[in-house]
């Protein structure tokens, strides 16, 4: 479907800061233009490929475990930048977003436009609450994702 914008929050809300992607997506419900699909995912590769199938723009929101880390710090990556990251060997089912993007590219399944917003996180244990640094930075992450969605729709309208 031409012009479709899909936002995918990747992560597990039961694991403290790992829920930052789904939390950002939940915060956008009712606040994005029609034609925006809001989805959450555990990041399993085939499901992510399915979620952005047919989309014109995909916006992915993801937690980032960095060493050394600065919890709450935000990064915005292009598809090429995200794909060049090492595969996340600690990811749920052995696939990181980098591997997902590489597979999508090999199978010609990358959406025409893709942007990745990530936040560095601190505590991802099962049952942990979201850390203060991540909670503090969440509104800015939501703002960045909303801006990406807005720009995608503006681009579509300008065509």
């Amino acid at each position: 479907m031409s012009g479709r914008v899909v936002v995918i929050g990747v992560g597990n809300p039961l694991r403290g800061d790992d829920g930052v992607g789904p939390a950002a997506v939940d915060a956008l419900r009712g606040r994005v233009p029609d034609g925006t699909v809001l989805a959450v995912s555990d990041g399993e590769l085939a499901r992510v490929l399915e979620l952005w199938r047919g989309a014109d723009t995909a916006v992915v929101v993801e937690a980032l475990r960095a060493r050394p880390g600065r919890p709450g710090e935000l990064h915005t990556l292009t598809a090429a930048e995200a794909a060049s990251r090492p595969a996340g060997t600690a990811s749920t089912h052995a696939f990181g977003l980098g591997e997902c993007l590489a597979l999508a590219e090999a199978l010609d399944l990358l959406p025409p436009r893709l942007v990745v917003h990530v936040m560095e996180v601190a505590d991802t244990r099962l049952g942990a609450p979201m850390s203060e640094a991540v909670r503090t930075a969440l509104p800015e992450l939501i703002g960045r994702v909303a801006a990406s969605v807005r720009r995608a729709h503006e681009r579509d309208h300008a065509r």
Partner: protein, 450 residues
Amino acid sequence: MNRRGTRVLRLDALARVEGEAALHLSVEGDRVTGTRLRIYEPPRFFEALLAGRGHTEPPDITARICGICPVAYQMSACRAIEDACGVQVDGPLAELRRLLYCGEWIESHTLHIYLLHAPDFLGCADVVELARGRRAAVERGLRLKQTGNAILEQLGGRPVHPVNVRTGGFYRTPRPDELRPLAERLRQARDDALETVRWVAAFEFPDGMCDHDLLALRDPGRYAIDSGTPAVMTVPGDGHGPALRRFPLPDFERHVVEGQVPHSTALTATLDGRRHLTGPLARYAVNGRWLHPVAAEAARAAGLGDPAAGARCDNPFRSIVVRAVEVVQAVEEGLRIIDGYERPGRPAVEVPPREGAGFGATEAPRGLLYHRYALAEDGTVTEARIVAPTAQNQTAIEEDVRRTVQSRLDRAGPAPDDEELTGLCERAVRNHDPCISCAAHFLDVTVERT
């Protein structure tokens, strides 16, 4: 490698294993002296979370344990709660549950076959390399997996962590016309599933032999998925009692005993004091005679012997073929259920609470999943117990790793280097599709700061 020396090989994170695990392998000279699979995940979080909840909540809460097999958790939870409350769900509601479970088998097995396991046999580092060289195969795998997703989405309400399942049945049951598109997809999936069996059967398999006791549900007349009685099959002629013995599900914890080992936060288990294996190899041995004729023929053609005559597969490297046969089985079973479906009069039967204990077990894609709940009179959960297949399989996996590496060390010719041993260990672990943490998702990167 110095064949005289001692060395320790540590795999800090196993690639292409579902979840996180690490393996510690000790080799002294030509002998493997230790294999320790380390699992990071604290396993008891969910059991503690369940205590104090209402009796209708475990299906939704336990679905969160695993993103790949949520239906298994929901079905074992439902069966246990319904058992505690003296309720039996049968007829079209039970058939719909089985259909949902077939969707999960298709999805989970296909994920493992194509995205995780096949690269091992084709000399590819990962599925990305596989896709570059064998695009049509990977596309077939994704197509097949999406058929499983479609079943989960239709019956479960969404593709991940289904929300339409409840104790007693469903919140909403589909009209027959809503299932027709699924039947169409399943008919297409049948070709892909059969082609998958042919594809994996042609792989080159290392020699491998396991002699673990096999534990699977047994459901006479049909291949066990969502119901059955625990059955144990020992290696024929090993002197440990009859080749097949059964025990009632309420006795499960007397037979399958969990214990903590120092190197793992998860629990490991023994079956009547012995090492055991659950999952596709066990199911095939115990239930093979009840495969659908199309799946049975695919198994025979793939070199798995005659399941109708009680054939078993003891080479763990060939588990990929058994999984592929089970995908055919799930597709055929799904078609049978949809063809005979009549919408039930109500979406769920009442499950009034009562004080007592209940037991439930089903066959998750990677093996037998057991739940037990104790309920108070008002239905409050006072105790929950979950025994997952990967915890049961841990000791068997360690033994498989030991044998695989030892077999390589015993071979004449140049000694293996660390890279080769690492690859062998990873393959031996992946043969059993362990689902270890089933929950975290990260981009794991190192950031340089200047």
